[in-house]
């Protein structure tokens, strides 16, 4: 075990994807392959309660009868589930509220990723849960949150500590049979975050999870469950990176949000998984994610914000079921594709309750030979009187060989609904960059300024310094693609 992390990146890629290093740590794993036996053994190793094992086995039975979805503007490499490792954990099992017991290699890795866990960062008012190959490493601020009755911990811990809450809500928004990847996740999910905010409590800080894929064969199957009780509010941030490999890594996550009466949940993602080789598209993360929110209570409000900049293939539709009367759902998205990346992403807004409102702002940026599709559905059920939706889809093309697609689906069974859809396509041009540069702005900042302007409505939804970070990330990624 060396203290300097080994760089396993494909030659020449290191400069392009700075998170492409791998950390050598001692691990305990089950052999690759998926079977009922693997699920039972992994569940036992984690010390899970009976209800969860049943949940997993039911999902597994269902998985055997299901096929991966083939719709989407995507060419997908085959995934062999039998080659994936479903249980892989760092050997030094960390006690989550004691930083000293966390493997120093891991801490160094998170340091390098810019995810600070140290005490000093408590001042920054962000509580961090770090998930390394789907095992939660450390949850900061836990005690402070506990005093307010806010539960923020790895879901693996929540199933033991708060089994009744988990049992009540797990699978209540994304049922195990929802789609192939969600079914797989339900059968094998490893870890993720659990948040419960009790009635009337406004969470005083951003809750944050940092996901890191490290192990070459291990799939990442994280599961996140956030419940905001009556009148509660919480803002949650998710960030992700992975090492560079030459074979695909599967990431099949499920995120469920439940907002009760007057509750508010804001969920933000900055996704920067390894995207594969720029020229051939080899390697890279297959990002098949099911994210859904249930606005269960009246006047509840859920807002999804995502900045998707990585992965070889992204298939992801953070959605809202607007069940409570006057509930509101929002989706703000920036999806950047370059190299040979493919993204098919968007949202579903399902209006069930009366006077429900939804807003969809999608910004797609495509460069090089990538393909970028927005796929969105707005559905108004019969009882959803006076439902309103506003959708805006803007595409920006940077380069002659990329493509942008928009697939809006609108279904309404209520004549009082009011739905608006706007779309535009523009080009990130050399003339724009030259203009900005001719005023002394450097090229990277010029790209950042043009792209930042294009994404303004989305970036302003991101909490604090995340907006600046996201803008910089996009500029870095586009710099090599433009001109």
């Amino acid at each position: 075990m060396s203290s300097a992390p080994e760089n396993n990146a494909v030659p020449g890629l290191h400069a392009e994807y700075k998170y492409g290093f791998r950390t050598e740590i001692e691990r305990e794993s089950l052999p690759p392959g998926l079977s009922e036996e693997t699920i039972r053994r992994a569940s036992e190793k984690r010390g899970e309660p009976r209800f969860l094992l049943d949940f997993r086995l039911k999902a597994y039975a269902r998985l055997l009868e299901t096929e991966p979805p083939t719709w989407g503007q995507l060419e997908r490499p085959d995934v062999d589930l039998q080659k994936i490792v479903y249980y892989s954990a760092p050997k030094k099992k960390p006690a989550h509220d004691d930083l000293a017991s966390v493997d120093p290699e891991l801490l160094e890795t998170f340091e390098k990723l810019g995810i600070p866990l140290e005490e000093q960062k408590r001042l920054a008012n962000v509580a961090v849960d770090a998930v390394f190959d789907s095992v939660s490493i450390y949850t900061s601020h836990k005690r402070k949150l506990m005093e307010m009755g806010i539960l923020f911990c790895p879901i693996s811990e929540a199933v033991r500590e708060y089994p009744e809450l988990v049992e009540q809500y797990l699978g209540s928004v994304v049922p195990p049979g929802d789609n192939y990847w969600a079914t797989l996740n339900s059968a094998v999910f490893t870890d993720g975050s659990f948040v419960f905010v009790p009635p009337g409590i406004k969470c005083p800080m951003e809750l944050s999870t940092y996901f890191r894929l490290n192990d070459r064969e291990a799939g990442q199957f994280e599961r996140t469950l956030i419940v905001a009780a009556e009148g509660a509010s919480v803002s949650y941030l998710e960030g992700c990176t992975a090492p560079s490999y030459d074979s695909n890594q599967l990431h099949a996550a499920v995120v469920e949000l439940v907002a009760l009466d007057r509750a508010e949940i804001k969920y933000s993602t900055v996704q920067n998984w390894y995207a594969g080789d720029r020229e051939t598209g080899a390697g890279g993360v297959l990002n098949y994610v099911t994210k859904r929110a249930l606005c269960k209570g009246a006047d509840s409000h859920v807002s999804w914000t995502q900045v998707e900049t990585g992965s070889a293939v992204t298939w992801k539709y953070p959605s809202c079921v607007l069940q409570g009367d006057r509930s509101r759902g929002e989706f703000y998205s920036v999806a950047l594709t370059n190299g040979r990346m493919q993204a098919d992403t968007g949202t579903k807004m399902i209006h069930v309750g009366k006077d429900t409102r939804s807003t969809v702002i999608s910004k797609g940026i495509s460069a090089d030979r990538s393909s970028n599709a927005y796929r969105g559905a707005v559905e108004v059920r019969a009882g959803a009187d006076r439902a309103r939706n506003y959708t805006q889809c803007d595409s920006m093309l940077a380069g002659p060989e990329c493509s942008a697609h928009t697939f809006p689906y609108i279904r309404t069974r209520n004549p009082s609904a009011r739905l608006e859809h706007e779309a535009s396509t523009s080009r990130l041009s050399e003339e724009q960059l030259f203009y900005l540069q001719s005023r002394g702005v450097d090229r990277e900042a010029a790209i950042g300024a043009v792209v930042g302007g294009f994404c303004k409505e989305v970036f302003r939804e991101l909490p604090g310094e995340f907006a600046a970070e996201a803008r910089q990330l996009l500029a870095l990624k586009l710099e090599k693609s433009v001109g």
């Binding site: 041009s429 203009y435 900005l436 540069q437 001719s438 005023r439 002394g440 300024a449 001109g483």
Partner: protein, 250 residues
């Protein structure tokens, strides 16, 4: 300030030569006008000087403030004190007009080793320039050139020039498409920027602007070369005999 010697420039894309051995010198503090018929290479000259990637200098030299700049990128030239006012400035939706002005000003200050501009200093400089150019307050909240009329864009270019105080301002047809009142305002902006430390290269089609901004010299550009240079009186001759007459005497 600016010394162009036997400059040849080609299109980066296919190597076609656009400027065929152009020479021009602008001493410190002088305003020189470059006139010429359509397609003579006036806009090309301005872009080549500012470092547009579509053009490449194949031979000759461009000395700016004693420094050879023909190999520098556009950012470096600007940071060295060169400014180009565009004939048709691009629109950048979502990027605040003043946010950009400030970004540019800070880049310029950074190049001079100065700290970023303070809020107070910036707002004072903005107020002063806006007053001079009779710009209304809407400019403050709008995005960079987004939805601006042609005249508003020109005014915004001169506004940025005043803010950035470049050593050399290249103004590519700052008068095209302006009505007479707007033309006067723009001319006033240019005149206010005249100083012994600043030179101006003024590209125009029309004499009208030269009545308002009196140049120290006039050069006639035709076929990618300066074919004639002279004092302000050259403008009158041009008006009488047209470019054809001038070229004939070259």
């Amino acid at each position: 300030m600016l010394r162009i010697q036997d400059l040849r420039a080609v299109l980066t894309e296919n190597g076609e030569e656009i400027l065929h051995g152009l020479s021009l010198e602008i001493p410190d503090g002088e305003v020189h006008a470059v006139m010429g018929p359509n397609g003579s290479g006036k806009s090309t000259l301005s872009k080549v000087l500012a470092g547009h990637p579509a053009y490449r200098v194949s031979s000759g030299s461009v000395l700016f403030d004693g420094r050879e700049i023909s190999e520098l990128g556009p950012t470096e030239r600007a940071r060295a004190g060169l400014f180009l006012s565009f004939q048709d400035p691009v629109e950048v939706p979502g990027l605040g007009n003043l946010d950009f002005a400030r970004m540019a000003l800070d880049a310029r200050r950074d190049a001079e080793g100065r700290a970023p501009v303070s809020d107070a200093e910036f707002s004072e400089a903005v107020d002063r320039a806006m007053r001079l150019l009779k710009m209304d307050d809407r400019y403050r909240s709008r995005d960079l050139n987004a939805g601006f009329s042609g005249g508003e864009k020109k005014r915004n270019e001169i506004f940025q020039m005043l803010l950035l105080s470049p050593k050399l301002a290249i103004l590519d047809e700052p008068d095209s498409g302006l009505d007479i009142d707007a033309l006067r305002v723009v001319a006033e902006g240019i005149n206010s920027a005249r100083s012994p430390e600043r030179s101006v290269l003024l590209i125009t089609h029309y004499r009208r602007l030269l009545d308002e901004v009196k140049p120290d010299a006039i050069h006639v550009l035709a076929g990618g070369r300066i074919v004639r240079s002279g004092g302000p009186e050259l403008a009158e001759e041009l008006e009488r005999s047209g470019y054809d007459g001038i070229e004939g005497k070259a």
